[in-house]
Subunit: 243 residues, 2 copies
Amino acid sequence: MRNKIYIVGIGPGREEMMTAEALHVLEQAEVIVGYTFYLKLLGERFQGKEWLSTPMRQEAERCRLCFAEAQKGKKVALVCSGDAGIYGLASLMYEIGKAYPETKLAVIAGVTAASSGAAVLGAPLNHDFCTVSLSDLLTPWDRIEKRLQAAAEADFVIVLYNPSSRKRNDYLLRACDILLRSIEQERACGYVENIGREGTRAETCTLLELRDRTVNMFTTVFIGNSGSEIVNGRLITRRGYHI
Amino acid sequence: MRNKIYIVGIGPGREEMMTAEALHVLEQAEVIVGYTFYLKLLGERFQGKEWLSTPMRQEAERCRLCFAEAQKGKKVALVCSGDAGIYGLASLMYEIGKAYPETKLAVIAGVTAASSGAAVLGAPLNHDFCTVSLSDLLTPWDRIEKRLQAAAEADFVIVLYNPSSRKRNDYLLRACDILLRSIEQERACGYVENIGREGTRAETCTLLELRDRTVNMFTTVFIGNSGSEIVNGRLITRRGYHI
């Protein structure tokens, strides 16, 4: 693990939802880089490690911190929630890593919110789906809008990451209005708050109802495709088997 | 676990890539339903269990077998590779489960091939992405074609599941031709064979090169978006951070 940084997806929260491989890498690490919030999620097992972080929005600095520690000869793991390669820091590590050719990188896959949220709701992703982040910090809104529209027209199941924040509290409403241009109001939808953490809460509703729901920043939203339905409170997307 | 069936995603193959939760559920199960091929992947730990299966294409019968065993009072787990809710049997279980209202279902999320393959390739999914299965057993080809075209035009990263089989050995070529209508020939792409299993092999190439590659049925294919690049043999999709 010397001069090799592991970029580890820890899944939604509870340690049981990490892979054995991810747990093993964190056990081997001397320095763990990531939000201190994750330390709380991971529990006492990793309290003894050196734990480093940078404030929100300082993601590039956080990555550089990993390389600096690795160059001191430390065994370093960078942790991201969910899967580090899905709206996480994996690609930024590779970009910054161009300046550190002697340091190897390895990504350890984790369970992303699309998977873990789907498991709570039922089986909404059981056909072609796409993920769209509603955060316009790094992506212009017109590109987000174009993707939502294309996904709706091509009948993908749609998973929305980052549907809300303090400054973007009407973004879910705006997204639903775009989707409602081509999807019927009664389309089966659902969302899950705090997946795999204390206070997990799942709701199903129609697309029109979703438009006026208030969700927090720890929520993942699912818009069904034309073959989705709500069965006993679960959101299900048919694969197409004849039964 | 009586009268409750667990639908378990075991990830790509190696036991270390399962979640602790999935391992725990399989340890508790008395009957495990799934391809015998998975038993080999899972190793000796589960040799002592009662292992039941049905031939390929008999997915509905496999699901009904689960309910029949649960009704005998057995603790039943149905295993799928990757995530059971992504091109797996989770939604079919809910559909068939309408006839068994006394039996509860729970999905245990796993690491799907999009995540595990991305980790091998680098970080290709680090922006909005979609998954498309090229299998037309359950989905008409014109719907697959429409989704590929929409995904390409809206600049999604695209993950292709089931890119090939004995009867569909030109489907990857056909998909690439559809994508090449709106994506440049030099677009950065990659694919991974046998993720998490013996013989894992990752390749990067351009979209035009991908068109003429032969891949086996245990391959997951990644088509980058306009911000993807190949860095030291790794396929990376920029998230948009300023560095």
